[in-house]
Symmetry: C2
Subunit: 420 residues, 2 copies
Amino acid sequence: MALASTADTTLDFGPASALSCRECGTRYDLGPIFACIECFGPLEVAYDFGPVTREEIAAGPTNIWRYRKLLPVPANVETRPNLQPGWTKLVKADTLAAELGLRSLYVKDDSGNPTHSFKDRVVAIALEAARNFGFHTLSCSSTGNLAGAVGAAAARAGLDSCVFIPSDLEAAKITMASVYGGRLVAIDGTYDEVNRFCSELIGDELGEKWGFVNVNLRPYYAEGSKTLAYEIAEQLGWRIPDQIVIPVASGSQLTKIDKGFRELIKLGLVEDKPYRVFGAQAEGCSPVSGAYKAGHDVVQPVKPDTIAKSLAIGNPADGPYVLDIARRTGGAVEDVTDGQVVEAIRLLARTEGIFAETAGGVTVGVLRKLAENGLLDPEAETVVLNTGDGLKTLDAVAAEARPAAVIRPSLAAFRTAFAN
Amino acid sequence: MALASTADTTLDFGPASALSCRECGTRYDLGPIFACIECFGPLEVAYDFGPVTREEIAAGPTNIWRYRKLLPVPANVETRPNLQPGWTKLVKADTLAAELGLRSLYVKDDSGNPTHSFKDRVVAIALEAARNFGFHTLSCSSTGNLAGAVGAAAARAGLDSCVFIPSDLEAAKITMASVYGGRLVAIDGTYDEVNRFCSELIGDELGEKWGFVNVNLRPYYAEGSKTLAYEIAEQLGWRIPDQIVIPVASGSQLTKIDKGFRELIKLGLVEDKPYRVFGAQAEGCSPVSGAYKAGHDVVQPVKPDTIAKSLAIGNPADGPYVLDIARRTGGAVEDVTDGQVVEAIRLLARTEGIFAETAGGVTVGVLRKLAENGLLDPEAETVVLNTGDGLKTLDAVAAEARPAAVIRPSLAAFRTAFAN
């Protein structure tokens, strides 16, 4: 395993020691690169972890930087202007569990992040990489949540931003993506087309000194999702859950949560035990679920058509890894219809007071389906992820979530309206 | 000071010992009452505080229950299903400070609460009171944020809910208020009319066993705002800021933050020092600011007309107390136009990556105005509150926060669009 590119001694990525190809293992110096020049496989961050204890983590800040010794960030990351995401609530969901016939259920509610989606986690790591590489502009292709997270993080950090979105996104996500003062460009096309355009832009002089968080900074960015695994384990009292249901867009989040659990085991921070990973997709964009059910190892791209726009990636880069993890751990990949997504949003709101965006409707909908079809063990401790906020996808429920009546302010009017 | 009503020995309000009239001091047993029968003054919670140390607070949960020994809640409140609000970020706002010519500025960002406004704090306390009194339905009159907070809290706790709002609220707030499955009733009238209607409903058999969080549970509810003072002081390293800018709707929040600071001093948890309290209103609903500027002690009701709907209370119950606190502490009450509110929302987003609702635009706009007109000491440590989330008042900025261009996914199109 040779070191391929040249070293820059001014870089500070904390415990991260190199990039490593996930396919062929070729190692590279830490740099703004994302694909192996030997085999075109994706690169990921490799570490030389020092000693880490539960106690020092518990004494850290109430955000993802409590895990800085497990992330590609400098030791002083806490002191630099960033959104300080993470340490979101793990909600014991007893009412929802009872409705679904499960014994022990938790919702990891990432709508509590600064821009109200899990994307703040990954962007915070990418921001440190951008600073390391001296980039002046933070950029991305986005299905919406990432656009807001990048805009906000760049504003806080004092960087420029330029984000690219499909033009048909939810109004809330469009407004949020541009309110932070960066440049927002809508592309007349699908997310996959936006993504291809960004890859083209990186090779062009226009994109010089730009950090595309989910392209040339992707190896760093993706590591942010590990913090979901760390938090869930710590919040359970340093224990990995038996079962976990995770949404699948590109598939990166699911693969990194699995990586995070394995790291905790390797570092002796939790006991080694089996756990089952379940992937959740919307039927209207279910290339990974389709491949899982067909018994395939490869994922056929699809053209998305679903209200779960934040999961609408028709050509998911990490799809094959998701299939591998689901099969290796005894999990599954399942999908639900848009109607079931809306039902699940309302179910979660009604039972636990959590208003999820459509992606959360997908995971809770899949949880329900897995409970019904017996793929989930009802006796086992289960965690389901809500990765975003209902305020960003209001249209999904607005038709049904309305006032029961509009009345004049009088007891007589109230009596008449609610006589039955 | 006589005890007026009958005691119920099954109640558990922790350190709270009685209700006390803020005007005449008459004391009452803890009950679902809110006005003094002697003088019609407002009742507030009186305590017998036991010993409280910084260390035991710091060892508590990362939510408002770390302060349970200072709140009217039972000792086991943590273990009961509730939204666990609080411990939101205190953001060091160096970029905003530089733009406004201030030396040291923090934003207390309460958009990080479960339903993304400070209302989760007050509702969590009211919920415990409702449980104590055996109420089955949680209710309120609301300008929007409270409706969502009550709906979510009732859902989590397994209570029914019925909330009343003016029919002209923002779409996001209406959807959020009803998604949790409770009953939402829109009233064709102003907030003040909704509020009067709720007072009428309490006296009616229809409202029996209903806890109106901001009417018959108001003394308990209002105490939740003290946690903002506690958190700010603790997050500053157990220190009260020199200056604080707080939005004024009913005025309750401002009076309770002042009460919280004074309690911390009295308990020896912070050093005694002077601090200045500033109230912020929208010009279109500025009865308290108007009275302040005119040198009056009483507040003339107004008919609200502002985009800051969450502050649109034309007849603020605690207005006179706000005037008293602003004058006593050397602060002021100021107001800004709707245009300045929008500018301030964009200023905060651009400088700190925080997307505030219109109420946050009011406080940041007033902060700017106070800095410009010299009423604020630029050298003194200052805290400004953002009490809600920009996603709930998108219309305020949607016209300006839009994509810079909509293009085809090609470098040529991008070059053309951004040639200049």
